[in-house]
Amino acid sequence: MNLLEVQHLKKYYATHKAVDDISFDIPRGSIFGLLGPNGAGKTTLLRMITGIFYPDEGNILFNGRPFNPHEDVHSIGYMPEERGLYKKMKVGEQALYLAQLKGLSEKEALEKVKYWFNKFDMNTWWNKKVEELSKGMQQKVQFISTILHNPSLLILDEPFSGLDPLNANLIKQEIFDLSQAGTTIIFSTHRMEQVEEICDRILLVNKGRKLLEGQVQEVKQTFKQHLFRIGVGVVPNFAQMATHHFTIIKQHDHAYTVKLNEDSSTNDILLHFIRQEIPVTHFEEILPTLNEIFITQVQKTEEYA
């Protein structure tokens, strides 16, 4: 079942279309990657999902019901890209304050804050002012403040920016744990390697329009170039490689990158090598990285524009 369904969402500004007819679904418990270059409309999209902006047109269904900003914000945790904390406020008080604004009672908030401060080993920070913390520490406080109220939808916009690898890993692990526990997560970034590692599904937007959507593996399959890497024990001579089944793209010592020609199958490639009695050490399909897909797809829309 889908936690969030976005149908034909539109938000137009005087000079441009920030979000232009975007639809997508997010299954409950999945980690959903929202991708796009700067100015693609991601933030506007997220602001509509979090109830900060009203869409000009279109519907948002949350938990199968029309999205109600007043109620549903309590089920959403949003860590925007432009984020911060009250610098002069003490860390503990700040976390309590933000939790209460998400609808927790004072008692519940205290319990939750204590639990998370314990878990992240932050108890000694309680009475420190935010400005006394390092940037990475502030990010941890920010992350905890976002998840204190057990949101069923967690929206993280560039959550790892400003974090050292150690803390980034800590947060990443927490994201996985939350996902395991049933939290649906929207993850917005331009760091494609993170998306590939973390996300189940992705949505790529540019200039306010949806470029593609789907499961990470599906997307990769859709945009695959039918490239294969084949490793050989003995370097063959030029004549041995002549065939109508594939074209050589690149040769690298004992390995070839080849493109499968139309009407041929992967076994045709292998058969060719076997017939030529070239020993094959390995054979694999090369799938495009999300980064490559991202760049080619975005460039395509830029050309049309």
């Binding site: 925007p80 984020r83 904390l85 002069k88 604004l101």
Partner: protein
């Protein structure tokens, strides 16, 4: 409603808990007391004592210039002004008063030499004393008896009563109270308005705005801040009120029991000059207190403080939401808001002198200036100077005014608070007001 309360609480607490709050709350009355007391002290104590040499060639002034207020006259004979005016300082004189051999009917050529320019007090003093002596001499010549003249002189004070209830009142008191309360409102609008603006800027610059907006409506955030800061102001007034009452209660303890007794008897039992003066002072205070409708004035003050504050602070919040990191933006953006406040204080100064002028009347009705100007007019009396309809209209306009500015500011605020990195002009902000959604 629960959320806005949380915001109000936070805004209130973070400000009240600061050390600067307590220090400022105590320092401001000291400052005001200082501005009143120090000039009085200076006036009473006067300048340092001065020795003034007198060269009197007319022989009219010998022994007739009494020493007073730290001025000691030293008549000198056998010295010539031409030489002495260059070396009086060597003899320890502050200056030389030179009186040539004058014709009593046409005195001229009286001069005073000193190194620096003579103070306004000294100038007045010398003029008065010299004229006194000449007047006495002329009376003597004309055969007028000084004592008789004094008896003839009249010193009647008219009781000024105003309005249907014929309340006794003095324009001087109304002037002082009006000026004071108008000025306090002006300071409140500026100080607390800026405080709201800085609070909004802090939220924007520290980038917590969007985090907050994902939990609460922008309007709640803005109103929470405005109300929270109003609470700080009210607490400050409360503290000052309590301080004032404590001082009032403690004051009699510093006076002798005898004086208190005298005062209790309404001055009738005045036994000596000192007590009589004290009783007289108390009567004057009673007169001042009695000549003004304090309960009306205080309730109006609280209304105009809150109304004016709400009217302007929403605008200040809107401006705060437009500012990005560049502090230069602040000045250009706040100017359109501070301008009407400054116009207001100028109209107030004119209104307190002339509370029935058209400028004063309209200034006290238009909500941009009414908090200051109405407070300047009110002590002159309701319904005497300020008609009931004027007060009612002013109140209605101010309420409508702050509802309108809050609504406008809310529209600008909720867009501005989420706009980063880009300089926003007032023209753009004005477009947000008419934009839908």
């Amino acid at each position: 409603m629960h959320k806005i309360w949380l915001i109000i609480k936070r805004e209130f607490r973070t400000r009240v808990r600061k050390k600067s709050f307590l220090i400022l709350t105590l320092l401001i009355p000291l400052f005001f007391a200082g501005t009143i007391i120090i000039p009085i002290l200076i006036a009473v104590k006067g300048e340092d004592s001065k020795r003034i040499a007198v060269i009197d060639e007319s022989k009219l002034f010998i022994g007739k210039l009494p020493d007073a207020k730290g001025i000691y006259f030293k008549p000198l004979e056998l010295v010539k002004i031409d030489t002495f005016k260059h070396k009086y300082q060597e003899y320890g004189y502050a200056g030389v008063l030179y009186i040539p051999d004058i014709d009593i009917n046409r005195p001229s050529g009286i001069e005073y030499y000193s190194k620096g320019r003579a103070s306004i007090m000294l100038e007045g003093n010398l003029n008065r004393q010299v004229n006194d002596v000449i007047e006495k001499k002329r009376m003597e010549i004309a055969g007028i008896d000084r004592q008789k003249l004094d008896e003839v002189k009249s010193d009647v004070k008219i009781d000024f009563r105003s309005g249907d209830e014929e309340t006794k009142g003095s324009s001087a008191v109304a002037y002082a109270v009006g000026y004071g309360s108008g000025f306090i409102i002006y300071i409140i609008l500026m100080v607390f308005g800026m405080s709201v603006m800085r609070g909004v800027m802090e939220e924007k610059v520290s980038r917590i705005a969007e985090v907050m907006i994902s939990s609460v409506k922008p309007f709640q955030l803005m109103m929470g801040k405005i109300v929270g800061i109003a609470g700080v102001g009210l607490l400050q007034f409360l503290i000052w009120g309590v301080l004032l009452m404590t001082i009032q209660m403690l004051l009699p303890l510093f006076l002798s029991a005898d004086t208190v007794h005298t005062i209790n008897q309404g001055g009738a039992m005045a036994q000596n000059a000192n007590n009589a003066a004290m009783a007289d002072a108390m009567e004057k205070i009673n007169f001042i207190v009695g000549s003004i409708n304090w309960s009306l004035l205080i309730s109006c003050f609280i209304f105009y403080f809150l109304g004016g504050y709400l009217f302007y602070s929403a605008l200040f919040a809107a401006v705060g939401s437009l500012v990005n990191e560049d502090p230069n933006d602040v000045q250009s953006l706040t100017f359109p808001i501070t301008l009407p406040i400054i116009i207001g204080i100028m109209v107030m100064i004119s209104a307190v002198q002339n509370p029935n002028s058209a400028l004063a009347v309209w200034g006290s009705i238009i909500p941009f200036t009414s908090p200051m100007v109405m407070m300047a007019r009110l002590p002159y009396g309701v319904p005497g100077t300020v008609a009931y309809w004027e007060l009612a209209l002013s109140i209605i306009f101010l309420i409508a005014g702050f509802l309108l500015t809050t609504w406008l500011a809310g529209k600008i605020y909720r867009t501005g608070i989420l706009m980063y990195g880009k300089k926003i002009t007032l023209k753009e902000a004005a477009k947000w007001i008419v934009r839908k959604g």
